[in-house]
Symmetry: C2
Subunit: 465 residues, 2 copies
């Protein structure tokens, strides 16, 4: 059976088994139940009769053969025998949840080597050990009961379970939904590159995210496979890498027991493939949001119009943008003349500092004059949270929508910075209203700027390869 | 009269006049009324009889002489005559709110020069033009009706009004309160260094914040004065500077019309004085919070214990910390042995990745073993927002308090990163609970780390000068 068939069984399983299920890990069952899973869900438990309303089987041997996806949660000293049982029952795919492998001690390395050899000889494909597994809202399987039922266009593969959980929750909270997610931990069988290849071919996936910590211990060819996978990718691929520093590498070995890559290869990867360099968790969350909402709004020039609410913050933000390599060019004098005809006070050079007129009809008009200039790649606007969502606020909101529509017609991204506020409930509402209108929102101008850079970088790559 | 007497009159005025007051700027009156101002508040308006319940005078000549503080809001072409009237009435201090000075055009520069010459010859001291003025909760004067009535220990002087407003609101929201704040805009008379000197001598001020954009146009000696003021400062001084890049300078000239300083002097300032380099608005907010809560908890070593909730985020955060120059050293093997006796799984090397035991009694014990090591300067813990504030949550919260108490006894800072969460209301509550217990909270590990660096840097400076 091809790897793609196995992948299909991971993300769209018609039958699932959890070995051993336990009430104290009821969430594993609920993750699947809550998504209204329609296939057969089998639980195996020696100690419990029923979990979350589902009857338990005593032993794997009581299960039917050829189960699509089995989740193994036994202690590490029972891994070998359990895996052998699964092979005998011709299960298609396995998720080894069990931790205590190569990330923990010498004994763990030994166990991993043993099960690696067993799996290699079988037809079964495996994710893990030491991982959370699969979230596929379309396939109605989820390892977390809190994840959204909504199907989206982002797919993600990761070597950290909890990072994956936080990424899904933060993205859901940002109105971003997923097609397929795999937390694969120590990845002794299926590797990150296997998932990249699958996501690249998958029509439902439009944006790929990767959290990489190191190459698996027993797969010597994964380096080259990874490189080739990235070379072939034709979609935006956000690549967050952990374990870069010496001390970070130590943390990575304790975490997934994988071996970190040679540092030099990474510059080549980011230079010669569509992989985009993401340096922090926050940037991963932000850029996912940006790509989710700004498809086909990629900036052609690395320069922006900055629209602010505060002269001082405009000055600091300009410094920050320039430091990041983004230009904040002075608007052409002839255009400034046109803009000045519409106002009596405020600066229109860029940044546009026009807090007095944000509710007036001429506000989007003035912004348009600057945004449509051909040396401008897009715009970032710092918005404010209002104490009251009254008529005045809604006029302001409408103006923002107008600037978005103008930007969209010009095929330029329009990003909003909405800083924290003591009126946090209104901030939440406002943020939601903006995202529902497809306008991405960030916590500050710098974070919006980092997302802008990734959008720019992707359109540059689009032209190159 | 000495400059300190004038400063006292700015921050503790016994009489205030607003010239011209207007209902559309009622907030200017309310800012003072809401703080229960006890002195005499005079409003001057040619058009209105009463504003916010206070009777208006027709003209400055109707006011008593020797008013402590007058706020001037007339159009720029009436500035000259109004200031002359104020001098005639022997007013002590003036706040020129009026914009349209050197920041706007050539005519504005001309007007500023004229009024500068007039003021120079008078006994009156002036802040502005183009600024928001004074907030002094103890003196019961405030330019913003939303600012807290609570008196705190931070004083701030700034060349941006709206940045100041946002800084006050964000700090209040963080549980940080102010002693004295002055937004002084184009600063043609009283300058940033005058305020630094005053705050340095002021017993009520324990932390100083400065937003600097450029030296005033008409005061040639301000550079040297600024340098001397900083040399003399004996308190933590957070210095945020705008207008560093070429394009940022352009924005600064449009904003306050001041002249940017030679770049080279800044390295010397940060190296040879107690001024701490703050590069972003967010860092200013964060470091103010850290200094407000961590007085006398300054790290002696630039290295931390990182306590996390997620292996993957621990790896990325370690990379970030190392990039910032913070060490995340492996805990000594003998100490690790002691720690391992308390757990069966998880990493104790540093980062400590122990999500399973955060509610157990041994959690603070394990942390203590690492934090008390003499090569450790302090700790950063990534906390999570809980879906329910139930008994389990409160056990977790108690453990955090224990780690804080342990850190405090060891005189080491303990900083919390609490990322955004879909349970944002619980996040708000949790944040407030932590800050009330004097534990500073940041949006992510990197921002906590930047605050840690400033705390470290300050204790280093403490030993040097």
């Amino acid at each position: 059976m091809s790897i793609n068939n196995h992948m299909d069984k991971l993300f769209y399983p018609r039958s699932i088994a959890i070995i051993e299920a336990a009430s104290k890990r009821e969430w594993q069952v609920l993750g699947i139940k809550n998504l209204n899973y329609q296939g057969n869900l089998y639980l195996v438990s020696k100690n419990e009769e029923e979990i979350a309303g589902i009857k338990c089987y005593q032993d794997i041997s009581d299960l039917p053969d050829k189960i699509d996806h089995a989740i193994i949660v036994v202690k590490r000293d029972r891994l070998r025998e359990t895996i052998l049982q699964c092979i005998e029952k011709k299960f298609y795919t396995l998720h080894i949840f069990t931790a205590g492998g190569a990330e923990f001690d010498e004994e763990g390395i030994k166990i991993e080597r043993e099960i690696y050899e067993i799996i290699k000889k079988s037809d079964m494909r495996v994710i893990g050990p030491n991982c959370m597994g699969i979230y596929s809202p379309e396939g109605k399987i989820s390892y977390g009961p809190e994840f959204s039922k909504k199907v989206g266009k982002v797919s993600f593969v990761s070597q950290s379970g909890d990072l994956t959980t936080q990424y899904i929750l933060r993205s859901n909270y940002n109105g971003v939904f997923f097609s397929k997610v795999a937390s694969i931990g120590n990845s002794i069988d299926l590797t990150i590159s296997d998932f990249i290849n699958y996501f690249n071919a998958d029509e439902k996936t439009e944006i790929i995210g990767v959290y990489f910590e190191g190459f698996p211990r027993f797969q010597e060819k994964e380096g080259l496979k990874f490189w080739n996978a990235l070379k072939n990718v034709k979609k935006p691929l956000l690549l967050l890498r952990g374990g870069i520093s010496h001390q970070g590498k130590r943390a990575a070995v304790s975490h997934t027991g994988t071996l970190a890559a040679n540092d030099r290869i990474w510059d080549a990867i980011y230079k010669q493939t569509r992989a985009l360099r993401v340096e922090t968790f926050e940037e991963l969350v932000d850029s996912t949001l940006a790509f989710n909402l700004c498809q086909n709004l990629y900036p052609k020039v690395k320069s922006i119009v900055l629209i602010t609410w505060s002269g001082g913050k405009a000055v600091i933000a300009t410094d920050q943008l320039v430091r990041l390599g983004i230009d904040v060019p002075e608007i052409a004098p002839s255009t400034q003349e046109k803009m000045k005809k519409l106002i009596s006070i405020g600066s229109v050079k860029n940044p546009l500092d026009l807090p007095w007129i944000v509710r007036r009809e001429k506000f989007p008009e003035i912004c348009k004059l600057a945004i449509k200039e051909d040396y401008i790649g897009g715009s970032i606007m710092e918005a404010g949270t209002w104490r009251n969502h009254d008529e005045r606020f809604f006029k302001y909101f409408e103006n923002i929508l107008k600037i978005y529509e103008i930007s969209k017609q010009l095929k330029k991204p329009f990003l909003i910075s909405l800083p924290p506020s003591q009126f946090y409930q209104n901030r939440e509402k406002f943020k939601k209203m903006l995202i529902e209108k497809n306008i991405p929102v960030f916590l500050n101008i710098k974070r919006a700027a980092k997302a802008f850079l990734n959008l720019f970088e992707y359109q540059r790559k689009l032209r190159l390869f």
